[in-house]
Protein backbone atom coordinates (compact mmCIF):
# COMPACT_ATOMS: atom_id res chain seq x y z
CA UNK A 1 0.00 0.00 0.00
CA UNK A 2 2.69 2.43 1.07
CA UNK A 3 4.83 1.50 -1.92
CA UNK A 4 1.90 1.90 -4.30
CA UNK A 5 1.01 5.31 -2.87
CA UNK A 6 4.61 6.52 -2.95
CA UNK A 7 5.00 5.29 -6.52
CA UNK A 8 1.79 6.98 -7.64
CA UNK A 9 2.67 10.29 -5.96
CA UNK A 10 6.22 10.08 -7.27
CA UNK A 11 5.09 9.67 -10.86
CA UNK A 12 2.58 12.52 -10.49
CA UNK A 13 5.18 14.80 -8.91
CA UNK A 14 7.61 13.97 -11.69
CA UNK A 15 4.98 14.85 -14.26
CA UNK A 16 4.11 18.11 -12.52
CA UNK A 17 7.55 19.28 -11.39
CA UNK A 18 9.94 17.21 -13.50
CA UNK A 19 11.66 18.38 -16.70
CA UNK A 20 8.42 18.21 -18.67
CA UNK A 21 6.54 20.16 -16.05
CA UNK A 22 9.15 22.69 -14.98
CA UNK A 23 9.88 23.80 -18.51
CA UNK A 24 6.30 24.97 -18.74
CA UNK A 25 6.67 27.80 -16.30
CA UNK A 26 8.44 29.93 -18.88
CA UNK A 27 6.74 31.02 -22.04
CA UNK A 28 8.22 29.33 -25.08
CA UNK A 29 8.44 31.64 -28.04
CA UNK A 30 7.18 30.40 -31.37
CA UNK A 31 10.53 30.44 -33.20
CA UNK A 32 12.24 28.49 -30.43
CA UNK A 33 9.86 25.67 -31.02
CA UNK A 34 10.61 22.77 -33.43
CA UNK A 35 8.40 22.97 -36.45
CA UNK A 36 7.33 19.34 -36.48
CA UNK A 37 3.69 20.09 -35.81
CA UNK A 38 1.34 20.62 -38.68
CA UNK A 39 -0.96 22.67 -36.46
CA UNK A 40 0.07 26.31 -36.11
CA UNK A 41 0.63 27.23 -32.46
CA UNK A 42 -1.48 29.85 -30.78
CA UNK A 43 0.64 32.73 -29.50
CA UNK A 44 1.67 32.28 -25.91
CA UNK A 45 1.37 28.52 -25.97
CA UNK A 46 3.45 26.72 -23.36
CA UNK A 47 5.26 23.76 -24.82
CA UNK A 48 7.44 21.16 -23.10
CA UNK A 49 10.71 20.71 -24.95
CA UNK A 50 10.73 16.92 -24.75
CA UNK A 51 7.26 16.20 -26.05
CA UNK A 52 5.68 16.80 -29.43
CA UNK A 53 3.31 19.74 -29.40
CA UNK A 54 -0.41 19.06 -28.99
CA UNK A 55 0.18 15.46 -27.98
CA UNK A 56 -3.33 15.33 -26.56
CA UNK A 57 -4.78 18.15 -28.62
CA UNK A 58 -5.71 21.70 -27.71
CA UNK A 59 -7.26 23.00 -24.51
CA UNK A 60 -10.41 25.18 -24.41
CA UNK A 61 -8.31 28.33 -24.74
CA UNK A 62 -6.25 27.05 -27.68
CA UNK A 63 -3.12 26.03 -25.76
CA UNK A 64 -1.51 22.61 -25.46
CA UNK A 65 -3.88 20.45 -23.41
CA UNK A 66 -1.22 18.21 -21.86
CA UNK A 67 0.85 21.22 -20.79
CA UNK A 68 -2.20 22.94 -19.38
CA UNK A 69 -3.29 19.88 -17.40
CA UNK A 70 0.21 19.24 -16.02
CA UNK A 71 0.41 22.90 -15.03
CA UNK A 72 -2.93 22.50 -13.28
CA UNK A 73 -1.58 19.47 -11.44
CA UNK A 74 1.47 21.47 -10.36
CA UNK A 75 -0.63 24.40 -9.12
CA UNK A 76 -3.02 22.07 -7.27
CA UNK A 77 -0.20 20.26 -5.50
CA UNK A 78 1.64 23.50 -4.67
CA UNK A 79 -1.43 25.27 -3.32
CA UNK A 80 -2.50 22.21 -1.35
CA UNK A 81 0.95 21.83 0.16
CA UNK A 82 1.11 25.53 1.06
CA UNK A 83 -2.29 25.40 2.76
CA UNK A 84 -1.27 22.23 4.58
CA UNK A 85 1.95 23.88 5.77
CA UNK A 86 0.02 26.89 7.08
CA UNK A 87 -2.54 24.72 8.89
CA UNK A 88 0.26 22.71 10.51
CA UNK A 89 2.29 25.80 11.34
CA UNK A 90 -0.66 27.16 13.32
CA UNK A 91 -2.17 23.91 14.55
CA UNK A 92 0.86 22.03 15.87
CA UNK A 93 2.32 24.75 18.16
CA UNK A 94 -1.14 25.62 19.48
CA UNK A 95 -1.88 21.92 20.02
CA UNK A 96 1.40 21.47 21.91
CA UNK A 97 0.63 24.55 24.00
CA UNK A 98 -2.87 23.37 24.82
CA UNK A 99 -1.69 19.85 25.58
CA UNK A 100 1.33 20.71 27.72
CA UNK A 101 -0.12 23.55 29.80
CA UNK A 102 -3.42 23.96 31.55
CA UNK A 103 -3.59 27.72 32.02
CA UNK A 104 -5.64 30.46 30.44
CA UNK A 105 -3.77 30.23 27.11
CA UNK A 106 -4.55 26.54 26.83
CA UNK A 107 -8.21 27.15 27.60
CA UNK A 108 -8.36 29.96 25.05
CA UNK A 109 -6.91 27.77 22.30
CA UNK A 110 -9.34 24.96 23.05
CA UNK A 111 -12.26 27.38 23.21
CA UNK A 112 -11.38 28.89 19.82
CA UNK A 113 -10.99 25.41 18.35
CA UNK A 114 -14.33 24.33 19.85
CA UNK A 115 -16.02 27.34 18.31
CA UNK A 116 -14.60 26.65 14.88
CA UNK A 117 -14.92 22.85 14.86
CA UNK A 118 -18.65 22.58 14.03
CA UNK A 119 -18.12 24.51 10.78
CA UNK A 120 -17.09 22.44 7.77
CA UNK A 121 -13.66 23.81 6.71
CA UNK A 122 -14.70 24.15 3.09
CA UNK A 123 -17.66 26.40 3.95
CA UNK A 124 -15.49 28.36 6.36
CA UNK A 125 -12.79 28.90 3.74
CA UNK A 126 -15.36 30.00 1.18
CA UNK A 127 -16.98 32.41 3.64
CA UNK A 128 -13.53 33.68 4.63
CA UNK A 129 -12.60 34.40 1.02
CA UNK A 130 -15.89 36.21 0.45
CA UNK A 131 -15.58 38.26 3.63
CA UNK A 132 -11.96 39.21 2.90
CA UNK A 133 -12.77 40.35 -0.62
CA UNK A 134 -15.77 42.32 0.68
CA UNK A 135 -13.96 44.03 3.54
CA UNK A 136 -10.50 44.64 2.07
CA UNK A 137 -11.18 47.40 -0.45
CA UNK A 138 -8.06 47.05 -2.63
CA UNK A 139 -8.69 45.47 -5.98
CA UNK A 140 -6.94 42.13 -5.94
CA UNK A 141 -4.40 41.21 -8.61
CA UNK A 142 -4.63 37.79 -10.22
CA UNK A 143 -2.23 36.05 -7.83
CA UNK A 144 -3.73 37.58 -4.66
CA UNK A 145 -6.84 35.46 -5.10
CA UNK A 146 -4.71 32.34 -4.95
CA UNK A 147 -2.80 33.52 -1.88
CA UNK A 148 -6.07 34.42 -0.18
CA UNK A 149 -7.46 30.98 -0.94
CA UNK A 150 -4.38 29.22 0.45
CA UNK A 151 -4.51 31.32 3.63
CA UNK A 152 -8.20 30.60 4.13
CA UNK A 153 -7.81 26.84 3.60
CA UNK A 154 -4.96 26.86 6.11
CA UNK A 155 -6.95 28.85 8.65
CA UNK A 156 -9.99 26.62 8.21
CA UNK A 157 -8.00 23.48 9.01
CA UNK A 158 -5.95 24.39 12.10
CA UNK A 159 -8.45 23.45 14.86
CA UNK A 160 -8.53 19.80 13.79
CA UNK A 161 -4.75 19.54 14.04
CA UNK A 162 -4.57 21.43 17.33
CA UNK A 163 -7.23 19.39 19.13
CA UNK A 164 -5.82 16.10 17.85
CA UNK A 165 -2.31 16.95 19.01
CA UNK A 166 -3.58 18.25 22.33
CA UNK A 167 -5.56 15.07 22.93
CA UNK A 168 -2.64 12.85 21.93
CA UNK A 169 -0.25 14.67 24.27
CA UNK A 170 -2.65 14.50 27.18
CA UNK A 171 -3.18 10.80 26.54
CA UNK A 172 0.55 10.07 26.37
CA UNK A 173 1.52 12.14 29.43
CA UNK A 174 -0.76 9.91 31.51
CA UNK A 175 0.89 6.71 30.30
CA UNK A 176 2.99 4.66 32.76
CA UNK A 177 6.20 5.24 30.81
CA UNK A 178 5.81 9.01 31.20
CA UNK A 179 5.16 8.61 34.92
CA UNK A 180 8.23 6.39 35.20
CA UNK A 181 10.38 9.04 33.53
CA UNK A 182 8.88 11.66 35.84
CA UNK A 183 9.80 9.54 38.88
CA UNK A 184 13.34 9.31 37.58
CA UNK A 185 13.45 13.10 37.64
CA UNK A 186 13.31 13.83 33.90
CA UNK A 187 11.94 17.36 33.39
CA UNK A 188 8.61 17.77 31.55
CA UNK A 189 10.28 19.17 28.43
CA UNK A 190 12.62 16.18 28.34
CA UNK A 191 9.70 13.78 28.64
CA UNK A 192 7.98 15.54 25.79
CA UNK A 193 10.97 15.48 23.47
CA UNK A 194 12.52 12.11 24.32
CA UNK A 195 9.52 9.97 25.22
CA UNK A 196 6.29 11.39 23.91
CA UNK A 197 7.25 12.81 20.51
CA UNK A 198 8.78 9.53 19.22
CA UNK A 199 5.49 7.84 20.07
CA UNK A 200 3.52 10.58 18.34
CA UNK A 201 5.36 10.46 15.01
CA UNK A 202 3.22 7.76 13.39
CA UNK A 203 -0.17 9.38 14.17
CA UNK A 204 1.28 12.78 13.24
CA UNK A 205 2.32 11.42 9.83
CA UNK A 206 -1.16 10.02 9.29
CA UNK A 207 -2.53 13.45 10.24
CA UNK A 208 -0.24 15.19 7.75
CA UNK A 209 -1.25 12.91 4.89
CA UNK A 210 -4.97 13.08 5.70
CA UNK A 211 -4.79 16.86 5.86
CA UNK A 212 -2.86 17.01 2.60
CA UNK A 213 -5.67 15.20 0.82
CA UNK A 214 -8.31 17.45 2.38
CA UNK A 215 -6.40 20.61 1.47
CA UNK A 216 -5.95 19.53 -2.16
CA UNK A 217 -9.64 18.60 -2.40
CA UNK A 218 -10.69 21.95 -0.87
CA UNK A 219 -8.42 23.84 -3.26
CA UNK A 220 -9.95 22.04 -6.24
CA UNK A 221 -13.50 22.84 -5.12
CA UNK A 222 -12.77 26.51 -4.38
CA UNK A 223 -11.00 26.96 -7.71
CA UNK A 224 -13.87 25.13 -9.40
CA UNK A 225 -16.30 27.65 -7.92
CA UNK A 226 -14.22 30.63 -9.06
CA UNK A 227 -12.84 31.54 -5.64
CA UNK A 228 -9.24 30.48 -6.28
CA UNK A 229 -7.14 30.00 -9.40
CA UNK A 230 -8.37 31.96 -12.41
CA UNK A 231 -8.79 30.42 -15.88
CA UNK A 232 -5.62 32.26 -16.92
CA UNK A 233 -3.57 30.21 -14.41
CA UNK A 234 -5.78 27.18 -13.90
CA UNK A 235 -5.48 24.49 -11.26
CA UNK A 236 -7.19 21.11 -11.60
CA UNK A 237 -10.41 22.53 -10.14
CA UNK A 238 -10.46 25.39 -12.64
CA UNK A 239 -9.79 22.92 -15.44
CA UNK A 240 -12.68 20.70 -14.35
CA UNK A 241 -14.89 23.78 -14.42
CA UNK A 242 -13.62 24.74 -17.89
CA UNK A 243 -14.04 21.20 -19.16
CA UNK A 244 -17.54 20.97 -17.76
CA UNK A 245 -18.63 24.09 -19.60
CA UNK A 246 -17.70 22.50 -22.93
CA UNK A 247 -19.35 19.88 -25.07
CA UNK A 248 -18.28 16.63 -23.45
CA UNK A 249 -19.05 14.44 -26.49
CA UNK A 250 -16.80 16.55 -28.71
CA UNK A 251 -13.92 17.04 -26.26
CA UNK A 252 -14.07 14.35 -23.55
CA UNK A 253 -10.39 14.81 -22.61
CA UNK A 254 -10.93 18.38 -21.39
CA UNK A 255 -13.01 17.04 -18.54
CA UNK A 256 -11.58 13.52 -18.19
CA UNK A 257 -7.92 14.48 -17.77
CA UNK A 258 -8.26 16.94 -14.86
CA UNK A 259 -10.80 14.66 -13.15
CA UNK A 260 -8.47 11.68 -13.56
CA UNK A 261 -5.43 13.56 -12.26
CA UNK A 262 -7.31 14.93 -9.25
CA UNK A 263 -8.57 11.44 -8.42
CA UNK A 264 -5.07 9.97 -8.79
CA UNK A 265 -3.46 12.61 -6.56
CA UNK A 266 -6.08 12.13 -3.86
CA UNK A 267 -5.81 8.33 -4.21
CA UNK A 268 -2.03 8.50 -3.73
CA UNK A 269 -2.35 10.75 -0.70
CA UNK A 270 -5.08 8.54 0.70
CA UNK A 271 -2.91 5.43 0.32
CA UNK A 272 -0.09 7.18 2.18
CA UNK A 273 -2.45 8.30 4.96
CA UNK A 274 -3.82 4.79 5.28
CA UNK A 275 -0.36 3.26 5.43
CA UNK A 276 0.90 5.85 7.94
CA UNK A 277 -2.04 5.28 10.25
CA UNK A 278 -1.43 1.56 10.41
CA UNK A 279 1.14 0.28 12.91
CA UNK A 280 4.15 -1.26 11.20
Amino acid sequence: MRLLGALLLGVLALLAFGPAGLALTGQVTLDAFPKDSSVPLAPGTFVPPLLPAYLLGKDPLGGDLLVQVLGGLRRSITAGAAALALAMLIGIPLGLLAGQTSGAASRLVLRLAAWQTPFPPLVLALLGIGVSVAIIPTARPASAGTVLMVIMIGLSRWPGDATLICRAIRHETRQPYADAARLLGVPEAGILVRHILPNAIAPALALVWTNAGLCIADEAILSYAGAGFSPARPSLGTLIRLGQSQDFAAQPLWLLLPCLLLTLVLAGVWLMANAAGRPR
Partner: protein, 306 residues
Protein backbone atom coordinates in the same frame (compact mmCIF):
# COMPACT_ATOMS: atom_id res chain seq x y z
CA UNK B 1 -29.03 18.62 35.43
CA UNK B 2 -29.84 18.18 31.73
CA UNK B 3 -31.53 21.60 31.62
CA UNK B 4 -28.47 23.18 33.18
CA UNK B 5 -26.14 21.47 30.73
CA UNK B 6 -28.31 22.52 27.79
CA UNK B 7 -28.43 26.11 29.03
CA UNK B 8 -24.64 26.31 29.47
CA UNK B 9 -24.10 24.81 26.06
CA UNK B 10 -26.39 27.38 24.43
CA UNK B 11 -24.72 30.23 26.30
CA UNK B 12 -21.32 29.03 25.12
CA UNK B 13 -22.53 29.05 21.53
CA UNK B 14 -23.81 32.63 21.75
CA UNK B 15 -20.45 34.38 21.12
CA UNK B 16 -20.14 32.52 17.80
CA UNK B 17 -23.50 33.87 16.68
CA UNK B 18 -22.54 37.35 17.89
CA UNK B 19 -19.24 37.32 15.98
CA UNK B 20 -20.96 35.91 12.90
CA UNK B 21 -23.59 38.64 12.97
CA UNK B 22 -20.89 41.34 13.31
CA UNK B 23 -18.97 39.92 10.34
CA UNK B 24 -22.18 39.57 8.34
CA UNK B 25 -22.91 43.23 9.08
CA UNK B 26 -19.40 44.32 8.12
CA UNK B 27 -19.66 42.51 4.79
CA UNK B 28 -22.56 44.67 3.66
CA UNK B 29 -21.52 47.71 1.62
CA UNK B 30 -21.46 51.02 3.51
CA UNK B 31 -24.59 53.08 2.79
CA UNK B 32 -22.77 56.08 1.31
CA UNK B 33 -21.04 54.02 -1.39
CA UNK B 34 -23.88 51.69 -2.27
CA UNK B 35 -26.62 54.30 -1.83
CA UNK B 36 -29.45 51.89 -1.19
CA UNK B 37 -27.95 49.95 1.72
CA UNK B 38 -30.33 49.32 4.54
CA UNK B 39 -30.17 51.56 7.58
CA UNK B 40 -28.76 54.27 5.41
CA UNK B 41 -29.01 56.78 8.24
CA UNK B 42 -27.79 56.65 11.80
CA UNK B 43 -24.65 55.65 13.63
CA UNK B 44 -22.94 52.30 13.32
CA UNK B 45 -24.56 50.68 16.40
CA UNK B 46 -27.96 51.86 15.24
CA UNK B 47 -27.41 50.42 11.75
CA UNK B 48 -26.21 47.15 13.28
CA UNK B 49 -29.35 46.95 15.41
CA UNK B 50 -31.49 47.57 12.35
CA UNK B 51 -29.54 44.86 10.50
CA UNK B 52 -30.09 42.30 13.26
CA UNK B 53 -33.78 43.12 13.58
CA UNK B 54 -34.18 42.82 9.82
CA UNK B 55 -32.29 39.51 9.72
CA UNK B 56 -34.44 38.04 12.50
CA UNK B 57 -37.49 38.96 10.45
CA UNK B 58 -36.00 37.32 7.35
CA UNK B 59 -35.05 40.58 5.65
CA UNK B 60 -31.48 40.30 4.39
CA UNK B 61 -31.54 43.08 1.80
CA UNK B 62 -31.40 42.96 -1.97
CA UNK B 63 -29.26 40.57 -4.00
CA UNK B 64 -27.30 42.62 -6.54
CA UNK B 65 -26.86 39.73 -8.99
CA UNK B 66 -30.46 38.48 -8.97
CA UNK B 67 -32.18 41.82 -8.31
CA UNK B 68 -34.48 40.17 -5.79
CA UNK B 69 -34.64 40.22 -1.99
CA UNK B 70 -32.25 37.64 -0.48
CA UNK B 71 -35.06 36.33 1.72
CA UNK B 72 -37.09 35.42 -1.35
CA UNK B 73 -34.10 33.71 -2.99
CA UNK B 74 -33.41 31.75 0.21
CA UNK B 75 -37.04 30.74 0.52
CA UNK B 76 -36.90 29.40 -3.03
CA UNK B 77 -33.62 27.50 -2.67
CA UNK B 78 -33.63 26.21 0.91
CA UNK B 79 -36.29 23.48 0.38
CA UNK B 80 -34.22 21.95 -2.44
CA UNK B 81 -31.12 21.93 -0.23
CA UNK B 82 -32.97 20.42 2.73
CA UNK B 83 -34.37 17.71 0.45
CA UNK B 84 -30.93 16.91 -0.90
CA UNK B 85 -29.31 16.80 2.55
CA UNK B 86 -32.09 14.65 4.02
CA UNK B 87 -32.01 12.21 1.13
CA UNK B 88 -28.21 11.99 1.25
CA UNK B 89 -28.33 11.38 5.00
CA UNK B 90 -30.89 8.60 4.57
CA UNK B 91 -28.81 6.99 1.82
CA UNK B 92 -25.59 7.17 3.81
CA UNK B 93 -27.27 5.60 6.85
CA UNK B 94 -29.17 3.00 4.80
CA UNK B 95 -25.94 1.93 3.10
CA UNK B 96 -23.45 2.59 5.88
CA UNK B 97 -25.04 0.96 8.92
CA UNK B 98 -25.95 -2.44 7.42
CA UNK B 99 -22.73 -2.57 5.42
CA UNK B 100 -20.63 -1.63 8.46
CA UNK B 101 -22.28 -4.26 10.65
CA UNK B 102 -22.03 -6.86 7.89
CA UNK B 103 -18.37 -6.03 7.36
CA UNK B 104 -17.76 -6.52 11.08
CA UNK B 105 -19.68 -9.81 11.15
CA UNK B 106 -17.85 -11.12 8.06
CA UNK B 107 -14.42 -9.78 8.92
CA UNK B 108 -12.72 -13.09 8.30
CA UNK B 109 -14.62 -13.84 5.09
CA UNK B 110 -14.41 -12.66 1.53
CA UNK B 111 -17.67 -10.67 1.87
CA UNK B 112 -16.09 -8.57 4.60
CA UNK B 113 -13.16 -7.59 2.46
CA UNK B 114 -15.46 -6.81 -0.47
CA UNK B 115 -17.39 -4.36 1.71
CA UNK B 116 -14.15 -2.89 3.03
CA UNK B 117 -12.91 -2.43 -0.52
CA UNK B 118 -16.16 -0.66 -1.42
CA UNK B 119 -15.77 1.65 1.59
CA UNK B 120 -12.22 2.45 0.58
CA UNK B 121 -13.19 3.14 -3.01
CA UNK B 122 -16.25 5.24 -2.11
CA UNK B 123 -14.26 7.35 0.33
CA UNK B 124 -11.42 7.76 -2.10
CA UNK B 125 -13.21 9.17 -5.13
CA UNK B 126 -13.45 12.97 -4.86
CA UNK B 127 -17.09 14.10 -5.23
CA UNK B 128 -15.99 16.98 -7.44
CA UNK B 129 -14.37 14.74 -10.07
CA UNK B 130 -16.99 12.01 -9.81
CA UNK B 131 -19.86 14.45 -10.06
CA UNK B 132 -18.28 16.34 -12.92
CA UNK B 133 -17.99 13.06 -14.84
CA UNK B 134 -21.43 11.74 -13.96
CA UNK B 135 -23.13 14.88 -15.14
CA UNK B 136 -22.13 14.83 -18.84
CA UNK B 137 -22.87 11.12 -18.89
CA UNK B 138 -26.41 11.94 -17.78
CA UNK B 139 -26.82 15.00 -19.91
CA UNK B 140 -25.74 12.97 -22.93
CA UNK B 141 -22.87 15.26 -23.78
CA UNK B 142 -25.00 18.32 -24.35
CA UNK B 143 -23.10 21.57 -24.41
CA UNK B 144 -24.01 23.39 -21.22
CA UNK B 145 -22.56 26.84 -21.62
CA UNK B 146 -19.57 28.86 -22.58
CA UNK B 147 -16.40 29.70 -20.74
CA UNK B 148 -17.00 32.59 -18.41
CA UNK B 149 -14.43 34.68 -16.62
CA UNK B 150 -14.20 34.18 -12.90
CA UNK B 151 -15.61 37.52 -11.87
CA UNK B 152 -18.81 37.50 -13.90
CA UNK B 153 -22.13 37.00 -12.20
CA UNK B 154 -23.53 33.50 -12.42
CA UNK B 155 -20.19 31.75 -12.63
CA UNK B 156 -22.02 28.47 -12.37
CA UNK B 157 -24.91 28.94 -14.78
CA UNK B 158 -28.13 27.20 -13.87
CA UNK B 159 -29.60 25.45 -16.90
CA UNK B 160 -33.29 26.14 -17.29
CA UNK B 161 -34.15 22.67 -18.54
CA UNK B 162 -31.25 20.33 -17.82
CA UNK B 163 -31.74 20.04 -14.07
CA UNK B 164 -30.53 16.74 -12.69
CA UNK B 165 -33.03 14.83 -10.52
CA UNK B 166 -32.24 15.16 -6.83
CA UNK B 167 -31.47 11.44 -6.46
CA UNK B 168 -28.24 11.79 -8.47
CA UNK B 169 -26.43 14.26 -6.18
CA UNK B 170 -28.01 12.56 -3.16
CA UNK B 171 -26.53 9.21 -4.21
CA UNK B 172 -23.13 10.84 -4.80
CA UNK B 173 -23.09 12.51 -1.38
CA UNK B 174 -24.69 9.60 0.44
CA UNK B 175 -22.33 6.94 -0.91
CA UNK B 176 -19.31 9.16 -0.28
CA UNK B 177 -20.33 9.67 3.35
CA UNK B 178 -21.28 6.05 3.93
CA UNK B 179 -17.58 5.14 3.63
CA UNK B 180 -16.40 6.65 6.94
CA UNK B 181 -19.54 5.26 8.61
CA UNK B 182 -18.72 1.74 7.39
CA UNK B 183 -15.14 2.03 8.65
CA UNK B 184 -16.21 3.39 12.05
CA UNK B 185 -18.81 0.69 12.57
CA UNK B 186 -16.58 -2.13 11.35
CA UNK B 187 -13.72 -1.11 13.62
CA UNK B 188 -16.03 -0.39 16.55
CA UNK B 189 -17.85 -3.71 16.21
CA UNK B 190 -14.60 -5.56 15.77
CA UNK B 191 -13.20 -4.03 18.92
CA UNK B 192 -16.42 -4.67 20.86
CA UNK B 193 -16.69 -8.29 19.74
CA UNK B 194 -13.18 -9.01 20.98
CA UNK B 195 -13.58 -7.22 24.29
CA UNK B 196 -14.00 -8.83 27.68
CA UNK B 197 -17.65 -8.09 28.27
CA UNK B 198 -18.69 -9.80 25.03
CA UNK B 199 -16.57 -12.85 25.81
CA UNK B 200 -18.27 -12.93 29.19
CA UNK B 201 -21.68 -12.64 27.54
CA UNK B 202 -20.88 -15.62 25.27
CA UNK B 203 -19.55 -17.58 28.24
CA UNK B 204 -22.69 -16.85 30.17
CA UNK B 205 -24.66 -18.44 27.35
CA UNK B 206 -26.64 -15.35 26.40
CA UNK B 207 -28.58 -15.66 23.14
CA UNK B 208 -26.81 -14.35 20.05
CA UNK B 209 -29.30 -11.45 19.78
CA UNK B 210 -28.43 -10.03 23.21
CA UNK B 211 -24.71 -10.38 22.65
CA UNK B 212 -24.89 -8.45 19.39
CA UNK B 213 -27.12 -5.83 20.97
CA UNK B 214 -24.49 -5.12 23.61
CA UNK B 215 -21.76 -4.96 20.98
CA UNK B 216 -23.76 -2.65 18.70
CA UNK B 217 -24.54 -0.28 21.56
CA UNK B 218 -20.82 0.05 22.17
CA UNK B 219 -19.91 0.33 18.51
CA UNK B 220 -22.38 3.19 18.09
CA UNK B 221 -20.62 5.46 20.60
CA UNK B 222 -17.82 6.56 18.23
CA UNK B 223 -20.46 7.05 15.53
CA UNK B 224 -22.39 9.38 17.83
CA UNK B 225 -19.31 11.36 18.81
CA UNK B 226 -18.37 11.90 15.17
CA UNK B 227 -21.94 12.88 14.27
CA UNK B 228 -21.21 16.63 14.30
CA UNK B 229 -18.28 16.28 11.94
CA UNK B 230 -20.26 13.91 9.73
CA UNK B 231 -23.22 16.27 9.58
CA UNK B 232 -20.95 19.19 8.75
CA UNK B 233 -19.29 17.14 6.01
CA UNK B 234 -22.73 16.15 4.73
CA UNK B 235 -23.78 19.79 4.38
CA UNK B 236 -20.47 20.87 2.82
CA UNK B 237 -20.42 18.04 0.27
CA UNK B 238 -24.08 18.65 -0.53
CA UNK B 239 -23.10 22.23 -1.40
CA UNK B 240 -20.34 20.86 -3.65
CA UNK B 241 -22.83 18.48 -5.28
CA UNK B 242 -25.20 21.39 -5.92
CA UNK B 243 -22.40 23.31 -7.57
CA UNK B 244 -21.22 20.37 -9.67
CA UNK B 245 -24.70 19.42 -10.84
CA UNK B 246 -25.80 23.06 -11.14
CA UNK B 247 -28.80 22.38 -8.94
CA UNK B 248 -30.33 25.54 -7.53
CA UNK B 249 -29.96 25.56 -3.74
CA UNK B 250 -28.36 27.29 -0.80
CA UNK B 251 -24.93 25.78 -1.54
CA UNK B 252 -24.94 26.99 -5.13
CA UNK B 253 -26.12 30.40 -3.87
CA UNK B 254 -23.12 30.62 -1.56
CA UNK B 255 -20.62 29.64 -4.26
CA UNK B 256 -22.17 32.09 -6.71
CA UNK B 257 -22.33 34.89 -4.13
CA UNK B 258 -18.56 34.75 -3.62
CA UNK B 259 -17.80 34.54 -7.34
CA UNK B 260 -20.26 37.32 -8.21
CA UNK B 261 -19.43 39.48 -5.15
CA UNK B 262 -23.04 39.55 -4.09
CA UNK B 263 -22.47 40.73 -0.53
CA UNK B 264 -26.07 40.71 0.68
CA UNK B 265 -26.33 37.01 -0.19
CA UNK B 266 -22.95 36.34 1.42
CA UNK B 267 -24.07 38.10 4.59
CA UNK B 268 -27.27 36.06 4.76
CA UNK B 269 -25.37 32.80 4.09
CA UNK B 270 -22.92 33.66 6.87
CA UNK B 271 -25.77 34.05 9.35
CA UNK B 272 -27.48 30.92 8.08
CA UNK B 273 -24.29 28.84 8.24
CA UNK B 274 -23.36 29.97 11.75
CA UNK B 275 -26.89 29.30 12.99
CA UNK B 276 -27.01 25.86 11.32
CA UNK B 277 -23.65 24.63 12.51
CA UNK B 278 -24.06 26.02 16.02
CA UNK B 279 -27.39 24.22 16.28
CA UNK B 280 -26.01 20.91 14.97
CA UNK B 281 -23.11 21.09 17.40
CA UNK B 282 -25.33 21.90 20.41
CA UNK B 283 -27.85 19.24 19.38
CA UNK B 284 -25.22 16.54 18.99
CA UNK B 285 -23.72 17.43 22.37
CA UNK B 286 -27.14 17.11 23.96
CA UNK B 287 -27.70 13.77 22.21
CA UNK B 288 -24.39 12.35 23.38
CA UNK B 289 -25.17 13.68 26.88
CA UNK B 290 -28.41 11.72 26.82
CA UNK B 291 -26.90 8.57 25.23
CA UNK B 292 -23.57 8.14 26.92
CA UNK B 293 -23.33 8.74 30.66
CA UNK B 294 -19.53 8.81 30.40
CA UNK B 295 -19.63 12.15 28.55
CA UNK B 296 -21.60 13.77 31.34
CA UNK B 297 -19.45 15.03 34.18
CA UNK B 298 -16.38 17.07 33.26
CA UNK B 299 -15.45 15.24 30.12
CA UNK B 300 -17.74 16.87 27.57
CA UNK B 301 -16.39 18.90 24.68
CA UNK B 302 -16.92 21.99 26.79
CA UNK B 303 -14.45 21.01 29.43
CA UNK B 304 -11.69 19.30 27.53
CA UNK B 305 -9.36 21.45 29.61
CA UNK B 306 -9.16 18.81 32.36
Amino acid sequence: MFIRFAATRFLQALPVLLIASLVAFAVLPAPDTAGQGRGASGLLPERYAQFVIGAVQGDFGLSVAAGKPVGVLLGASLPATVTLITLALVISLAVGVPAGLAAAAARRHRAGSVIAAFANLAGLLPPLATGALVWPALAGGVATGKITTADNAGFLPIPADGTVPVIVPALLVGLFLSAPLIRLLRDGMGRAMESGFIRFAWARGLPRYFVFRHAIANALVPVATSATAQLAALIAISAVAEAVFHRPGAGLMLFNAVAARDWAVLSAMLLLASLTFTCTSVASDLVSYALDPRTRPARTVLRTAR
